[in-house]
Amino acid sequence: MGKSKIWSFLLLMFVALTVVLAACSSDDSSDGDTEKDNDKGTTDTAEEKVLIFGRGGDSVSLDPAAVTDGESFKVTQNVLETLLNFGEQDTTINEGLATKWEPSEDGLTYTFTLREGVKFHDGTDFNAEAVVKNFERWAGGSEDLFPYYGSMFGGYDGDEGHVIESVTAEGDYTVIFKLTRAQAPFLKNIAMSPFAIASPTAFEAAGDKFGDSPVGTGPFKFVEWKRNDSITIEKNAEYWNSEEPKLDKVVFRSIPDNSARLNSLLNGEIDLADGVNPSDGSTVESEAALQLFERPSMNVGYLGLTSTRPPFDNQKVRQAVNYAIDKQAIVDAFFEGRAEVAKNPMPSSISGYNDDIPGYEYDPEKAKQLLAEAGFADGFEMELWAMPVPRPYMPDGTKVAEAIQKNLADVGITANIVSYEWATYLEKAKNGEADAFLLGWTGDNGDADNFIYVLLDEDNIGSNNYSYYSNPETHKILIEAQTEVDEEKRNELYKQAQEIIFEDAPWVPLAHSTPLLAGDAEIINFKPHPTGSDRLNKVDFK
């Protein structure tokens, strides 16, 4: 090519590009009207009701048994169903794929009667055999394949702690579970999203690819997954409840940034937005075209005090810190008041909550006095760890840490705020390297055990007991409560445990937040679930 030719070629390219660009800008104006029509999820309800659900992250896998992240369950909850369901907005036990369930008196045998005439999306019959095969699959797995199975049922086939001795089919529609020991939260565990029943034909054929295209009995069928972008599910026309679902399609879109997601909602590109910043709550309320949803609280945000590190090995110091922090001010400032001030390690919605506990009120004088008694009249210097990521139970770790820093300074404690990248933060906190750290927990199954035992029992040091708190007395109570089948006695045990924990003060419990969602004003029957996985079968547009 001669140089003049190259030059004219470049010039031609330039002209061509300009034309293309001009074309797309003219596109903007001419297509404006059709775009508007598309924008409104409700204008096309006559043909197809599509709900676009915007959320912060993508799912990891759509095999619910294989994952632990909430974003995966949000989708699978609508594609696969569990034997039992949680209540509409609580964690009571309701019928699901099983219509009846009967525990034996000793709590060692459970008989489930299954719903008849249900089919999986691939045409396979749902029956007792399918349930057995699902449990065999999980029990024959390991922690890296089916993590929740092991942690909720004490291990896998052959493990000493494994609770489920056998699952057998009796006829087509009766399943019998035999347990090695009584497990109080057994029914709640069965209702958890990871134990949804999948089509045996599908998972046998797909092997470890099952998570790419799940097959269940749910109100919606899986259609397509564009990674990190969107997951589409569509109405299951053969759903056993012919009234449901109301929607034709649901698209879950990942939009990581909270403000961008809200912009998308305001622009009509999505109909429902998860993870609305508390500070944006009032913006949503002032928009006539939108409505605000509050997810019932099932979490706790706290400041953990590592009780093996001096001076936090001293109970008085821990209590002093509890008195020093103005929790109400923190809730007002950073949760926009949309949270309950915490006094126990679990939210009040969970049975066994001890409301008689007074909580530590904000009392700097008392804090100073306790510090003096503990021999720290002049205070001390410490590291205060701030979470680097927002979580429903902690919208802004750094700002909360700053408020706490100020509170502590008022009683003479110098707190230096440090932060690490999230995985590092968890790893180091788990190793007990923090003096005091901000963290939180969202419950899995709405059981007290899932809060107090998991977060504060000595068995979980090196796991979720980041504050290294151990007390033989609470340990005894918590273990006893795990096998106590009598609900009232069990609640009593948890109340006792909370009293001891209150005295020992391994944490400063801060808040139980109500996560916010925003949606198009036309959406009806959307009831956010405290577990974070919402069933969308009743949701509709006006």
């Binding site: 404006g32 992250g57 890296d144 993590p147 912009n263 622009n267 590092t424």
Partner: protein, 334 residues
Amino acid sequence: MLHYIGKRLLQLIPVLLGMTFVVFMIIRAIPGNPAQVILGQLASKEAIEALEIKLGLNEPWYTQYFDYLVGLLKGDLGESMRTVQPVAEEIWPYLAATIELAFFAIIIAVIIGVNAGIISAWFQNSWFDYLAMVLALIGVSMPIFWLGLMEQWIFGVELQWLPTTGREEVRDPVNSITSMYIVDTIIQGRFDQLGTVLKHLVLPGIALATIPMAIIARMTRSSMLEVMRADYVRTARAKGQKMFWVVYKHALKNAIIPVLTVIGLQTGLLLGGAILTETIFGWPGIGRYIYEAISFRDYPVIQSGILVVAFIFVMINLFVDILYGLVDPRIKYD
């Protein structure tokens, strides 16, 4: 020329090898155990150890590194620890999304940047010159996060002209063949969808183009100013040629070399540096793919993701070097 390209490609081997080593060591130096992250907060010690063995994390680092290289030679980029899918299969849709966005952004940056630079140089010290250079200064210093949200708010929420997030209208999704939606919609003859896809590119494209656009404008301006003082430009003008022709034909040709270098560098940077833009605009690209892999300590994805981006980066630079020779035949490769 072929000889030169061959030599350059050979030089790539130690460069990429060194890079795999550095990335490999750095990600293992950061605390956080992938097995722990995968198994979640409830995992037992035994399970974590078992998974470490399964993933080969218990081996000494040099064995792990050697295995990784052997895999690479066979074209195996490893398997994502999190999704248990081969990276080579998984990576393309992300890469395609970023390439599409980066390509769009660099076109905007080049067209506006080069022309703004030329006009600024042409009318040096005019109001246009000052305005363009002030804008360029703002451009390089503007935080993308803020710019992105402002764009969304003005053009999406207030004016309702453009979509704010994503790659497509999800109510009418693109049937993906190549994962490059512009190509896909053209292949399928869906020109209505092509329009929507282009519209989705505008806001993130502008956000991503801002910094390179500003850099290119400044580079073009200074390079042009130098050339326009040269004798041949004076001669051309003295011969009575139109100013437009002098500037765009004679001067630009000689001024373009350093500008090409900058364009090449910026294109490479766009590929790797799109994380913020991709986050704000919910764009499912490679930046976010690698970023999320880092949070999950997904070693194979981080290693191979960065390797692929680095490879494209060096290839672009090679391409730019070849382009020098085409634009200016005085540059010889031997």
